[in-house]
């Protein structure tokens, strides 16, 4: 007989409370705890009842089976006059958090950040103008928090879905798409790089992607003041970076730019050199959240969504196919299904090493396996003073580490700058289970080792 799960949950919650509070009067503390739990559950029930009675249906008439803690006799012992109070407590979520006030207020960081942004431009949904400010919110709150610290302004409405135009990499193999390239001076490049550095959409790019994206930004002169670069409510396809000049940002409460002198709405901010706006357009086609007009002759850099996403897609696609191709050549992994191979390819991590780096060292315990993606490396064995082998693109080494903890049989040292794709034994096992099981699919006698190993890992 096992204890009912609800009971165990309650008790472990109580245990946590006791550990936290270290009460001197244990019995009183426990009694209080259970009273609070009871109160909040009933409040929850009342809340649902109250809401549903507005519609004359729903939860109030729903049947709750026995395993529902407030299902059995919900009305017994509830004093209706206390409802308001109870409801408030439920909002504050007293469940298992009597020590709530002792929680560091850093929990509030996010919501405060929101507040300070209120009335300024950053908070108008879908639109963000970034001046080149640094991202000050990086210090993270602790992982636990209380529900009070939630931004209470969460939008409770039904949410609609979003989607971008379909992107298909396979066709790109045939039409051989290359991103547009617009020449820039090195100062311009540096300015652009700085302008987008704070934007998370750009901060994950590798060097090649970054070069392609910066190259694709197109200069867009704005000849006079008063030009509406983007209009609130319109479909958005471009992201802009300000090279020089100045722009004002307006939001009309109606949600779109309207005709007439006040059609722009209220001014909520302005952007100058190094600033950017309209980045949601790089994700999908959402209506613009603001109108942006020039206040003097200016210059912008523009990048459209399809170009941006295609650059990311193509490089990801090529990388995956290249890794899958490399993996096919590894005899140890020859029995992987294409599905498994693509999972491993997805998990491979890219790393760069300068020339002269010892990537693996003879005698060390091996933990990862490597594929040479670019550059060259040499293999050395103790006691032999010249290289015993030479690796180039597509060669792999250290794969025995996936199989056992035997020491590395040789050292591998890069002779040029190299890029390797690497995966650890634990990463491999997490995805597909022990590699032994996979090898046995081919030939059960091949290994002749350690018969205790799980033959499992059908994969799927």
């Amino acid at each position: 007989m096992s204890l009912p799960p609800d009971y165990s949950n309650e008790i472990s919650a109580l245990n946590r409370e006791i550990l936290k509070a270290q009460p001197s009067d244990v019995l009183q503390f426990c009694a209080n705890f259970f009273l609070r739990r009871l109160e909040s559950q009933r409040a929850e029930f009342l809340l649902s009842q109250q809401h549903s009675s507005q519609k004359g249906g729903g939860m109030a008439e729903s049947t709750f089976p026995g395993n529902n803690p407030f299902g059995t006799s919900p009305s017994s012992g509830i004093i209706t006059s206390g409802m308001h109070r109870l409801e408030e407590e439920e909002e504050n979520d007293t469940i298992a958090s009597p020590t709530a006030s002792s929680f560091p207020r850093t929990n509030m960081e996010n919501s405060q950040a929101n507040k300070s942004g209120e009335g300024s431009f950053g908070n108008f949904g879908g639109f963000q103008a970034s001046t080149n400010r640094s991202q000050g919110l990086k210090s993270q709150p602790p992982s636990a928090m209380d529900s009070q610290s939630f931004p209470s302004n969460y939008n409770m409405n039904r949410r609609t879905s979003v989607s971008a135009e379909s992107l298909n990499p396979t066709s790109s193999l045939h039409d051989n798409w290359t991103p547009p390239y617009h020449q820039k001076t090195s100062e311009q490049q540096a300015r652009l790089r700085a302008a987008v550095s704070g934007n998370f959409l750009f901060s994950h790019l590798d060097d090649e992607q970054s070069a392609q994206v910066l190259g694709a930004l197109q200069e867009k002169p704005i000849p006079t003041k008063g030009i509406k670069v983007i209009q609130q409510g319109d479909v958005g396809d471009y992201f802009y970076v300000v090279e020089n000049g100045a722009f004002d940002i307006f939001v009309n409460k109606s949600g779109k730019l309207e005709a007439g002198p006040d059609g722009l709405g209220t001014k909520v901010g302005s952007v100058g050199p190094g600033g950017s706006f309209g980045e949601l357009a790089l994700m999908y086609n959402a209506p613009r959240a603001a109108t942006v007009t020039s206040t003097e002759p200016s210059t912008l850099w523009a990048l459209d969504r399809v170009t941006f996403r295609r650059i990311l897609m193509d490089s990801a696609f090529q990388r995956r196919r290249m890794y899958e191709g490399f993996l096919e050549e590894v005899p140890l992994l020859s029995s992987l299904t294409p599905y498994e191979r693509s999972k491993i390819a997805d998990a491979l991590e890219t790393r760069k090493f300068p020339a002269g780096t010892t990537i693996i060292k003879e005698g060390d315990v091996g933990e990862s396996f490597f594929i040479l993606e670019s550059g060259e490396a040499e293999v050395y064995k103790r006691g032999i003073d010249k290289a015993v082998n030479r690796y180039k693109k597509g060669d792999y080494f250290g794969e025995l580490a996936l199989l056992n903890d035997a020491p590395r049989a040789a050292s591998v040292i890069s002779t040029t700058e190299v890029k390797v794709a690497t995966l650890g034994k634990d990463g491999f096992q997490r995805l597909l289970g022990p590699v032994e099981g996979i090898m046995r699919r081919n030939d059960p006698s091949k290994l002749g080792m350690d018969d205790g190993v799980d033959p499992l890992a059908k994969g799927r």
Binding site: P5, S12, E44, L47, S48, G57, G58, E61, S62, T63, F64, N67, N68, P69, D93, A96, S97, F103, N107, G122, N123, F124, F127, Q128, P142, S143, A144, M145, D146, S147, P151, Y154, M156, R158, R159, T160, S161, V162, S163, A164, E165, S166, L167, F200, L201, H204, E279, L280, M283, Y284, R309, M313, A316, F317, P338, Y339, S342, D346, A347, R460
Partner: protein, 405 residues
Amino acid sequence: MATAVVHKLLHHDRSNRESSSQPNQSSPPAQNDQDMAAMDRDRDEEKHMLAQWEVKRPLSPAQIAVDTNQKMVGHSSRVLRQEDFELIKTLGTGTFARVWLVRLTNPKDGDQNKVFALKILRKVDVIRLKQVEHVRNERNVLAAVAGHPFITTMVASFQDTDSLYMLLDYCPGGEVFSYLRRARRFNEPTSQFYAAEIVLILEFLHEKEGVAYRDLKPENILIDAEGHLKLVDFGFAKKVDNRETYTLCGTPEYLAPEVIRNTGHGCAVDWWAFGILVYEFLVGQPPFWDQNPMKIYEQIVEGRVRYPSAMSPDARDLISGLCTVDTSKRLGNIKGGAGAVKAHSWFRNIDWDALYHRKVQGPIVPHLRGPADTRNFDEYEPEPEGREEYGPEMRERWDDCFTDF
């Protein structure tokens, strides 16, 4: 209605249901009255068959895999048309579709009470919003999965000159979303029950069908008359098998990091969204939120979930396993697949087999006055008048894309 006549001319030749999964070659419209009469007989028969179809016992995964032409549900009908259904009330509207509660017109004896949900998409809107590919995926995936106990059954699909139709079984309980917002959050047993039924759906879609669903959220999960879940809206579902795909789609709060970063995504996005869903069940709102969508995406890519102190350690462990940015470490995507999720201790009280066979009672069983009761649905604005026409040039260019219907 003028369109009805056109429609008749266009479609009554296509009564050969057997070839329905093939794109059908249009033969010239039949000219004579005999054909017309045969056509009407086919229609009546088909309507009767639809009315008789019921979700008595769920099909097993093997039975679902049977060709849609033999399954009796999920076929592309060459005879049905809008006039066969009386539109009673709007059940919901989405970005490009309107879903109606409908009843058969001129029903046979005994079929009078049968109602359905009819999802109507206007071809113009589908084209304008660049959803042609998605709508085709939706129909074909729904046809393939028809019969699963927790997925809304597409009984049939058809089209006329300007619209596409999907006839679905009606789920009178309404959206889980409405219950969740009303209750503010679900307690643990309720959350576990609904989450467990979703796990069975994802297991089936991913591991039996190779389909990524890509739009998991409480709005797309309905409750049927018996209190079990039905997943609706397969607008973004796609058969991906083992290839990654790149088109960004979903709902902002539920997008997985790899979708935002466009590094290629697959079924693993559903496990991420499933973690968000469980969180929203237990807490009442999703973990990543801001008024500015770009800020939501920034948080998602960062992937730091904060948990209320009241959340049980098991729930926390499950959610953090699912909402793991690195897909090679994400629960559901790692070794064991859905099985690893089912084995998680948060689900230790679930009898998975009984659950699949709908033997476990759900926490909310809607009380209904009859099969056509719509009290669990909100009111919606009537359809706007005077919308763009699906003209001859558009038909010329696009109609080939819709032959699956």
